[in-house]
Subunit: 222 residues, 2 copies
Amino acid sequence: MDKVRVIEVKQSVFADNNAEADRIRRELKAQKTFLVNLMSSPGAGKTTTLARTIRDLRDELAIGVMEADIDSTVDAEAISAAGARAIQIHTGGMCHLDAGMTEQGLRELGAENFDLVVLENVGNLVCPAEFDTGASKNVAILSVPEGHDKPLKYPLMFEVCHALIINKTDVLPYFDFDMDKVVQYAHMRNPSLVVFPVSAKTGEGFPAWENWLREQTAAWNG
Amino acid sequence: MDKVRVIEVKQSVFADNNAEADRIRRELKAQKTFLVNLMSSPGAGKTTTLARTIRDLRDELAIGVMEADIDSTVDAEAISAAGARAIQIHTGGMCHLDAGMTEQGLRELGAENFDLVVLENVGNLVCPAEFDTGASKNVAILSVPEGHDKPLKYPLMFEVCHALIINKTDVLPYFDFDMDKVVQYAHMRNPSLVVFPVSAKTGEGFPAWENWLREQTAAWNG
């Protein structure tokens, strides 16, 4: 393989993708739709976190969801059960979403009908961080079992995000996870990152996360 | 972004990469070095599993390790502490290793001096599955907190692997994880996949995994 060649292609993709992402953001701003790009490793709890958030906020916000997955529909089914309009985007093996794919999803969903749209990206802590989807804000989920060293090892994800949810706090007693260290490491990457320790299983920590989401949505749409 | 263009580049990469990988495999076979490509999500326990395996087998096998990481050296330090020669491969943002990058690592490590070399790939359940590294066998680690649905959502990883380690069995009581289902889903993707439930923390299940590794190494090198 020619490593340099791959990097060149990425750069040319970035140039187009960033312009497309900016255009999407302008359209979403004009139509008063706040788009969150939700990213994490596989199994960190994106869908469970989202389902609880929807149940808590669905009476005050019109929420739509785009579930990106390589090859299944289990997540969209879970989100529909929580009471939000959801569509599934199959990436056909692609390891991330770009602005063009996001825009196809927004059209299919009818994004203009929602105050808040959440894009659940492919479970991957590396590639999705490289592509601007046109989202208003990027949010990452890191779960306790993954370990507190992840901001050291996957720097870009923490650099590009505005908020970091640390999920599965209910199992903190069973893992060697240092909450102070993970916050310290995350802030080394990105000093303005807002951190929300939560348990999507028990609901612990959700009010603070949901307040942030409510305020950000109001600020974007207001 | 131009989605088609990316896919075309991948295909041309594949053609070169597969030939390179086959050449690496022939050389490793001739020099009696068994190369394992170890893959998983971030935080599934690749390094901890590997450190315990090294401690258990270092008296009977000469073991070398190549730690791939985007931007840190914490894993190579942990492996050196376990008693194996380890080098760190920085991928500079790349989300996977290919055959060419693997070969650079093998040369730097001096692979011909080892019975067993383990390549710890970048933590990513998507992209590494697409690139043949030249390894003799592929091994994936899935951890209990990630959930039993992962073979449904990340099919290629389970298709390309020869063995699947299911790590963190010590926390099974705290998660909704169905061991029968994960084995069933994994075998839907790959009927010949050998599955080893283990706990890298307690050592549970390690004898079966280590027997497999010992037998595979002997068969390749014999």
